[in-house]
Amino acid sequence: MAVAALVLVCLASIAIGAKGLPLADVWHGLFHYAGSGDDVLVRKVRIPRTVLGLIVGAALGLAGAVMQALTRNPLAEPGLLGVNAGASAAVVSAISFFGVTSLTGYVWFAFAGAAIVSVAVYLLGGSRSANPVRLALAGTAVTAALYGYVNAVQLLDSAALDRLRFWTVGSLASANMETVGKVWPFIALGVLLTLLIARPLNALEMGDDTARSLGAHLTRTRVLAMLAVTLLCGAATAACGPIVFIGLMIPHLVRAITGPDMRWILPYAAVLSPVLLLGADVVGRVVARPSELQVGIVTALLGGPVFIHLVRRKRMSQL
C-alpha cells in the first residue's frame, strides 16, 4: 500500500504544476515520447523533479530514522539538529569565498558541513546525561548561529544573496537530470549502509550495555551510522537545500505502522518519506499558482504542528 501511495504521488508530481497535464498526456510523455511540448515538459522538467524528490525524500527519511535510533532521542532530526544548516553554511562559504558555482563543488562542501555538525550533534546527544530537550535546544542554537553566519555572508556579497536566497530554502524546482546523476551515487551508498546496520541499530536502541551484551559492535555501528547520515543529509542538502522535519515526521509515522523494529522501519521510511516530500512539493505547486511554494517551506509548515503535537502528547519521561 505504501508503494501504491508512492506511485500515485509520483504521477501527481508529474501531472500537477503551473501547467496541469491530464494523465493521458503523462502516459504519452512517459512511454510514447514524440517531442511535443507536453512530452518535453514531462521528460525534461517533471520527471527529473520527481526523481530528485524520490531520492532526496528517501535520504532524509532514512537519515532521520538512523539519527533517532543512534541518539535514542525521538526528537532527533537532521534539520532540527542543525545538520542541514551546517551543509548550508558550508555551501554559502563555498559560493562566496571560494567562487564555487557547480553542483559537484557544492556537494563536497555540503558533505563537510553536514559531517562536522552531525559529529558535533552526536557528541552532544550521545553523552550520558543528554535529554531530548537539551539536544533540541543545542541543535536549534547551532542552527540559529549558522543561519546568522549565512545571513552575514549574504549581506556582504549581494550577488551571492541573489543566488543563495533561493538555495537556502529547500526546493526541488531547479531539478534536472544532471543533478540527479551527481547525487544518486552518494545517496545509494548511504541507503545501502543504512540497511546494513539496521540490525545492530536495533540492539543499540536498547542502551550501550545491552547492545554490547547482545554482541553488537558499538563503535563500528556508530561510525557507519554517522557516515550514512552524513552521506544522506549532505547529498540531499547539496541537491535541493535544507529541508526540515521530513526526518522527524516519517520515523514516527512508520513506527506507528511497523512497531519498533529498525529492519521494518528503514524500508518503510525509505518509501514513505518520498511520498511526503513529493506530496508537499505538489501542495506547494497547487496552493500558490501560478508561482509555487518551495517544498522546504511546505514541509516546515506541515512539520511544525506535528512536532508540537508530539511534544504535547508525550510526557517528559517518554521523550
Binding site: A141, L155, S158, T168, V169, L301, G304, I308, V311
Partner: protein
C-alpha cells in the same frame, strides 16, 4: 535613613559575599557585594563605551568634549552632532541591550536551560516574520516595520504560551513548542525573502542582521517607555523567580503564584524583546550570552536580573564599537559582530556544559 547595621548573613562567621543592609525603619535588603560591584563596573563600562561611541565618527570629539556637550556646554555644532545624531543611536543601543539581557535572563530561568533564550525559542523569529511581512508585502516604512515586529513577537509569544499550556506551562514543553515555532517561522521568513525583489530582499536581510545605524529619537521614546515600565516590574518579580528555579512544586509550596508569575514575567520579557527587535532588528545572541556572562562574573545563583540587564547594555555597545572600528571603512551592522561573538560563545558553552554533563 542611613544603614544602621551591616553584617554578614553567613552562618557562624564564615566569609560569604551576601550582606544584609538594614535600615532603622525595619526594612532590610539583601546585597551581594560581588554582584553589586559587577553591576557598577558594567554600568561604568557601558557609560564609557557610550562616551567613546558618541565621540567617534567623521567628526570626532574627545571624551571630555562629549561629556561637556552632554551636560549642555558644547558648541552649537557639537550639540547638534551629539544630541541629534549620535546620542539617540547610543541610547537605542543601551536600551536594546538592556531589554535583550533581561529578557534572556527571564527565559533562561523559566526554561531552566542556559540555551533557552528568546532568539532560540521563536520570539525573535516571530518578530522577524512580522517585520518582513511589512517590508516585503506592504513595502512599509520604518515605523510600520517596527509595528510589524512588535505584533509578530507578541503573537508568537501568545501562540507558544497557549500551545504549551496543558494544566500549566512546564519549562520543557515551553522550550520544545518554542523550537517547533522557531522552525516554522524560519521557513516563513525564507519564503518572504524568496518572494521579494532584490531591493526588498536586501533591506530584509539588513533588517534581519540587526543594526543601530541611523537610529534617532523616534526609536528612543517607545523603548524608553517600555523599559521604564517593564524593567521595574520584572525586577520586582525577581525574588519569586529565584524561588521558581527550584521547581514549580517547591515554588508553589513557598507561596509563589507560579502560573501568574510566569505569565507576567514571560509577557514582560516577550514585550521587551519585541520592542528591542523592532528598534534594532533581531540582534543575535545578546539575550543568550548576557545572562550567562553576568552569572559567571557575579558568581551567584539566581536569575541575576539586574546584572544581566547591565551586561546586555554593555555588551551591545561594545559590539557596536567593534563593528564601527574593526573593519575599517566597511562598517558592518552590529548584529554581525554579536552573531560572530555569540557563535563562538555558544560553541564554548556547548563544550563546557557537555563536559559538566549538563547538556
Amino acid at each position: 535613613m542611613k544603614a544602621t547595621q551591616e553584617e554578614t548573613a553567613g552562618t557562624k562567621g564564615t566569609a560569604r559575599s551576601v550582606r544584609a543592609v538594614r535600615t532603622a525603619g525595619g526594612y532590610s535588603f539583601r546585597m551581594n557585594v560581588r554582584a553589586s560591584l559587577v553591576i557598577v563596573l558594567l554600568a561604568a563600562l557601558a557609560a564609557g563605551t557610550a562616551v567613546v561611541l558618541i565621540g567617534s565618527g567623521d567628526f570626532s570629539m574627545t571624551p571630555g568634549e562629549v561629556v561637556t556637550t552632554l551636560f549642555g556646554h558644547g558648541t552649537f555644532q557639537q550639540e547638534f552632532i551629539v544630541t541629534d545624531l549620535r546620542l539617540p543611536r547610543v541610547l537605542v543601543g543601551l536600551l536594546v541591550g538592556a531589554a535583550l539581557g533581561v529578557g534572556g535572563a527571564v527565559f533562561q530561568t523559566i526554561s531552566r536551560n542556559p540555551l533557552g533564550s528568546p532568539d532560540v525559542l521563536g520570539f525573535g523569529q516571530g518578530a522577524t516574520v512580522g517585520a518582513l511581512t511589512v517590508i516585503v508585502l506592504f513595502q512599509g516604512g520604518a515605523a510600520a516595520v517596527a509595528g510589524g515586529a512588535v505584533a509578530g513577537g507578541l503573537l508568537t509569544g501568545v501562540a507558544v504560551y497557549v500551545l504549551a499550556w496543558k494544566r500549566g506551562v512546564h519549562g520543557f514543553r515551553l522550550v520544545l513548542v518554542g523550537i517547533g515555532a522557531a522552525a516554522m517561522l524560519t521557513a516563513a521568513t525564507q519564503y518572504l525573502i524568496t518572494k521579494a525583489n532584490l531591493v526588498d530582499a536586501t533591506r530584509a536581510v539588513v533588517w534581519m542582521t540587526g543594526s543601530l545605524d541611523g537610529r534617532d529619537w523616534a526609536q528612543v521614546w517607545p523603548l524608553l517607555v517600555v523599559c521604564g515600565v517593564l524593567l521595574p516590574l520584572v525586577f520586582a518579580h525577581g525574588p519569586a523567580l529565584r524561588v521558581m528555579e527550584m521547581g514549580d512544586d517547591a515554588a508553589y509550596a513557598l507561596g509563589v503564584r507560579v502560573e501568574r508569575t510566569r505569565l507576567v514575567l514571560m509577557g514582560s520579557a516577550v514585550l521587551l524583546v519585541a520592542v528591542a527587535t523592532a528598534a534594532a532588528g533581531p540582534i543575535a545572541f545578546v539575550s543568550l550570552s548576557a545572562p550567562q556572562l553576568a552569572r559567571r562574573l557575579t558568581r551567584s545563583t539566581g536569575p541575576n536580573l539586574v546584572a544581566a540587564t547591565f551586561m546586555g547594555a554593555a555588551l551591545l555597545l561594545v559590539a557596536d564599537w567593534v563593528s564601527m572600528e574593526a573593519f575599517g571603512d566597511r562598517q558592518l551592522p552590529v548584529g554581525v559582530v554579536t552573531g560572530v561573538l555569540g557563535g563562538c560563545y555558544l560553541l564554548w558553552l556547548l563544550v563546557s556544559e557537555r563536559r559538566a554533563g549538563r547538556i
